[in-house]
């Protein structure tokens, strides 16, 4: 197991390097001079501009610039936000917990819906219940998050007035009322993101359970006279859920994409809405840093999924 963890860690390093290289190339190819404003200012003589370029190493070979940029990114030296006049790392650290909370709870909700529904649908394939679940799953992942979000606001905030549609990270108050207010404002964003993911997870769980249900040991379990519920819970589910871990990991980039949309709709102060705000305000250091953080999070969660996979299925770790 130790060797397996080490190998997975070593695989994660080149992907981080690869992604950082892609990000840097995109940034380096982008038009525009960081000293564009200085260039158009007649009061700044060309010699000063040239000296600044040398000082910040803008004329160095591209590989040197990449290494320096990567070193700064890994250090958390992410620069200074033009728009909010704070260091970018402070800004991101302040916004990150909200995003992780919303994304995390929506994933828990998605699995709480998808696992039982998928297992139930797989018990009798092509039965009425299976077809209903399948059709609902299709509807679920054909409904884009931005549209469900607007529908939820229209129904629950405007027509029924049950839930608030603007998310506040720093609600005043304390005690149970404060907890309830926090839960209330999180219901819609978490549900929007959770149901969208639940739709695709349901199909994964169903397909995986159908694969496992054909195996001989399941027939043996039935022959022993175990009830159908016990067979599903203790024999099918335990093995069927292992490949689902990998499929969930493959969905992580899409999950963060969904988080950006949801944060924008419900005005949640997370890093997704920070990214959009920074783009609309032309705040390049923040844009780069948030994209880098998203990339890092995707790799981190992929690594976690890989380790989980090795732990759940020891055959993988031994290979």
């Amino acid at each position: 197991m130790g060797a397996y963890i080490l190998r997975r860690l070593l695989i994660a390093v080149p992907s981080l390097l690869g992604i950082s290289l892609i990000l840097f190339v995109v940034l380096a190819m982008a038009p525009g001079d960081p000293f564009g404003e200085l260039a158009s200012n007649p009061n700044v003589p060309p010699s000063v501009r040239a000296a600044l370029r040398v000082k910040f190493g803008l004329d160095d070979p591209i590989f040197t610039r990449y290494l320096r940029w990567l070193w700064a990114m890994l250090h958390g030296d992410w620069g200074f936000s033009f728009a909010s006049r704070v260091n970018v790392d402070a800004l991101i650290l302040q916004r990150l917990p909200t995003t992780l909370f919303v994304v995390g709870s929506s994933q828990v909700l998605a699995l709480l819906v998808a696992v039982p529904v998928g297992l139930y649908a797989a018990r009798r394939p092509y039965s009425l219940a299976d077809q209903v679940a399948n059709t609902l799953a299709f509807v679920g992942f054909s409904l884009p998050t931005f549209f469900t979000g607007l529908l939820f606001i229209l129904l629950f905030s405007i027509k029924l007035g049950w839930l608030p549609f603007v998310y506040q990270a720093d609600l005043p108050g304390s005690g149970l009322a404060w907890v309830w207010a926090n839960v209330r404002q999180a219901i819609m964003p978490v549900a929007v993101l959770g149901f969208f993911q639940a739709a695709s997870y349901t199909r994964y769980v169903r397909a995986s359970a159908l694969d496992v249900a054909r195996l001989d040991y399941v027939t043996t379990a039935r022959a022993k006279g175990l009830t159908e519920g016990t067979v599903t819970r203790r024999h099918i589910a335990r093995n069927a859920l292992i490949p689902v871990v990998t499929l969930v990991a493959l969905q992580i980039p899409a999950v963060f994409g969904g988080a950006i949309v949801t944060e924008q709709i419900f005005r949640i102060p997370g890093i997704g809405s920070l990214l959009i705000d920074a783009m609309l305000a032309n705040d390049t250091p923040v844009v780069m840093a948030v994209t880098f953080v998203f990339a890092g999070l995707v790799i981190l969660f992929n690594l976690v999924a890989d380790l989980l996979y090795g732990w759940l299925d020891p055959r993988i770790a031994l290979r």
């Binding site: 080149p14 992907s15 690869g18 992604i19 892609i22 990000l23 995109v26 940034l27 982008a30 038009p31 525009g32 059709t135 299709f138 509807v139 992942f141 054909s142 409904l143 884009p144 931005f146 549209f147 607007l150 529908l151 606001i153 229209l154 405007i158 493959l250 980039p253 899409a254 963060f256 994409g257 950006i260 949309v261 924008q264 709709i265 990214l275 959009i276 783009m279 609309l280 844009v287 780069m288 948030v290 994209t291 998203f294 990339a295 999070l297 995707v298 790799i299 992929n302």
Partner: protein, 310 residues
């Protein structure tokens, strides 16, 4: 050719009980069994026809500002209602739908071409190229797609506008970026197909006759690998439509004078309380399009899988 000539011309050919269906007809027979897919073809056909010829049936200008008719609900004058400038939403949806659908199909084409080329190269190579290309595919799969899409559009928007004009520049960029970030599933599928197909006897026969690798791929391997690619391509169309709508919905896709369905939703979201129709019609159009394309993909999966007995 040799197989179709009779062994002896004098022997009367016994007519078979049922003529073997051509592959196209067989596919159609299987596809028809998926009822929802069949309904979806009709729905999609209506939508496509609507955006293509709708402008002739409903010749209202998309930028006809009428402050007397602000934020009106559906009526005979404006079947889908009006927006905050009194512009007719039906006309805007017909115009924008053309662009939304065009982005979907064009981005799918880009993704499929890149995916087929990468997958074919990886599947045919027996040396270093395969692991390198597969590493690249995995790398692209673990990229955060939406943030990267937004980043590229943010950085390159202005310079492309200068070269190709507002509409053309944004269109080209969105198609290229969405297609360039979504080719990986196709590449994996094509490679997996190639790995099994290239060892088949008929491919070996062609190779032993001196066929070049390019000829092998073009005439023998690729045509047999197309089934799953067609299924994946249909899913790519709906994914690209969602991606474009998401960009426009975030205010970073098409500009306001090009009312794609996502852009209409972006404009509508601040008027939800007084004009819900403004959001419901374009959102419903996106949903219907994506849902029907997904069902068609599911039907094609059933129809094109030769191992499946229906």
């Amino acid at each position: 050719m040799a197989g179709s000539t009779l062994a002896s011309p004098s022997v009367e050919a016994v007519p078979p009980a049922r003529a073997p269906a051509s592959p196209g007809r067989e596919t159609w027979r299987r596809f028809r069994r998926h009822r929802l897919a069949l309904v979806s073809v009709a729905v999609l056909a209506v939508l496509v026809a609507g955006v293509l010829v709708g402008g002739l049936v409903w010749p209202v200008a998309i930028d006809d500002i009428d402050f007397a008719a602000q934020l009106q609900g559906p009526s005979w004058d404006h079947p889908f209602g009006t927006d905050d400038l009194g512009q007719d939403l039906l006309a805007r949806m017909i115009y924008g739908g053309r662009i939304s659908l065009a982005v979907g199909f064009a981005a799918m084409a880009v993704a499929c071409v890149i995916g087929v080329v990468v997958g074919a190269l990886a599947g045919m190579s027996r040396r270093l190229l395969d692991p390198v290309l597969m590493w690249l595919t995995d790398l692209f799969l673990s990229l955060p797609q939406l943030p990267l899409l937004l980043l590229i559009i943010y950085l390159f928007r202005d310079s492309l506008k200068a070269v190709f004009g507002t509409q053309g520049g944004v269109f080209l960029m969105i198609v290229a970026v969405i297609g360039g970030l979504r080719w990986m599933p196709v590449a994996r599928l094509v490679r997996a197909q190639f790995l099994t197909l290239r060892e088949k006897v008929f491919v070996e026969a062609a190779r032993s006759q001196g066929a070049s690798p390019f000829h092998l791929v073009r005439r023998h391997i690729l045509p047999n690998a197309l089934g799953p690619v067609i299924v994946a391509a249909s899913i790519e169309v709906s994914a690209a439509i969602i991606a474009e709508s998401t960009l426009s919905f975030l205010g970073l896709g098409f500009p306001p004078d090009i009312p794609t369905w996502g852009r209409l939703l972006f404009d509508a979201k601040d008027h939800l309380d007084v004009a819900p129709h403004w959001a419901l019609f374009p959102g419903g159009a996106i949903f219907l399009t994506v849902l029907s394309i997904n069902f068609i993909g599911d039907g094609l999966r059933d129809a094109l899988d030769p191992r499946r007995v229906l």
